[in-house]
């Protein structure tokens, strides 16, 4: 019960700390990206556990249906450290075609986050309608590589999707990248209108307290806070276009 209360307190703090999202328009497409982390005051010299929230949205300025997204990449800076050592993993096949409750039953110990998503369903000669889904994120491995396995369940119409996001290390400002390819057979899911995900998980391994995501605020003594590039989202669309945008947030050094 205590970890749940701590998680709730952190996420409430996170919502309060989150700034308004940034928007960018490419042609008739409007992309939004928002997010934050809590606590905002972090040690200067070592990573400390944090909760991270990311929200992204896609809409059209002329209210035409949103295009299919074939690839998603979410980048976070190097000062964010992902730790999976000793954390149980979830195999995608264990949660395929399962409800949220069954997915939690099968992979609960590997849970690292949760969220929501709204996707558009476009059926020929009918107006597009929205599908609301609940998302769960589990720690996993795909082809031997670290991954986040996202389980999405929509009730109307009933549909389940299991989508792996591979975790990659890359050079540049956004050293940790979560990337997923959205194949055609995912039905309505690639026409997502918006999603939000919160990541927070504390666990114990070999008697040591660990966190799925940790971060530091590496600033000198005379600099109490500083803005930094917090996240970058890149979307690849079915027509080959690639759109990306980044957001900045401020960290406070303890």
């Amino acid at each position: 019960m205590r970890p749940l209360l701590v998680a709730m307190a952190v996420l409430i703090g996170l919502t309060a700390a989150t700034a308004h999202g940034e928007r960018r328009q490419h042609g008739n497409l409007i992309v939004t990206l928002d997010g934050g982390f809590a606590p905002r005051a972090l040690p200067r010299d070592r990573p400390a556990p944090v909760a991270v929230e990311l929200k992204a949205g896609l809409r059209t300025s002329d209210h035409t249906p949103v295009p299919r997204v074939t690839g998603v990449e979410l980048g976070i800076p190097r000062q964010g450290v992902i730790s999976t050592r000793g954390l149980p993993t979830c195999k995608p096949r264990r949660i395929r075609n399962t409800t949220t409750a069954k997915a939690l039953e099968a992979c609960g110990p590997a849970l690292i986050g949760s969220g929501r998503m709204v996707a558009q369903v476009k059926i020929p000669s009918q107006p597009a309608f929205a599908v609301h889904a609940r998302l769960l994120a589990f720690n996993g491995r795909v082809n031997g590589r670290r991954a986040v396995i996202v389980h999405g369940l929509a009730l109307r119409p009933p549909s389940v999707v299991v989508l792996p996001f591979l975790i990659e290390r890359r050079p540049g400002k956004f050293g940790t990248v979560f990337s997923a390819r959205l194949p055609d057979n995912l039905g309505p899911w690639p026409r997502f209108a918006r999603f939000e995900m919160s990541f927070y998980r504390r666990y114990t391994f070999r008697g040591r307290e660990r966190s799925y995501i940790s971060a530091s605020c590496p600033l000198p003594k005379r600099v109490p806070f500083a803005p930094f590039s917090f996240a970058k989202a890149s979307l690849t669309l079915a027509d080959g276009r690639q759109i990306s945008m980044g957001i900045a947030r401020t960290c406070r050094a303890q």
Binding site: P218, L219, V223, P227, S229, G246
Partner: protein, 161 residues
């Protein structure tokens, strides 16, 4: 006599046409305006990126003098850019929106100057507060002209070090 009247009439008509056509030729469409501004902003955005390279690292490493020099260069580029783009004729329908945008750009220009001054005076905390305001105002500026779909003329924090 009749020849003189004809010439006078032709001249008057030509003048009238020129007078009505002139504002229409000066006011571009939104697409033309965006294309024109993007051409101006691209080299300036790239120059800013070059000038500001490593500025955030300089602040983190307490090299405030070095950071101040980079911010001073960026301020000069930003000021020249705002001056140049504000002289461009604007689409009539977007006049109010663009007026707001230029207000935000002027505010950003002022913040850049103040950041440079605070860094020169070795006041990192004040400079960082101003950087936060600079970013916030940049996002506000972007929101005003979101429908224009600017790339090079929009504010991007990643271009500043």
């Amino acid at each position: 006599m009749s020849r003189t009247i004809t010439i006078a009439l032709i001249s008057a008509t030509a003048l009238a046409i020129a007078a009505t056509a002139a504002p229409a030729a000066e006011a571009p469409t939104r697409d033309e305006y965006v294309a024109g501004l993007e051409k101006i902003c691209k080299p300036d955005a790239e120059a800013t990126q070059r000038a500001m390279k490593g500025a955030r690292g300089d602040i983190r490493a307490e090299r405030f003098d070095a950071a101040a020099k980079k911010f001073a260069k960026a301020t000069a580029i930003f000021s020249a850019n705002v001056k140049e783009i504000s002289a461009e004729p604007r689409p009539t329908a977007d006049a109010e929106r663009l007026r707001k945008w230029f207000t935000y750009l002027k505010r950003q220009e002022s913040y850049l100057g103040q950041i440079t001054a605070q860094l020169r005076q070795d006041h990192p905390t004040k400079a960082l507060r101003l950087i936060q305001r600079f970013i916030h105002t940049g996002n506000q500026a972007n929101n005003v002209v979101i429908a224009f779909g600017f790339h090079w003329c929009s504010f991007e924090f990643s271009r500043y070090g």
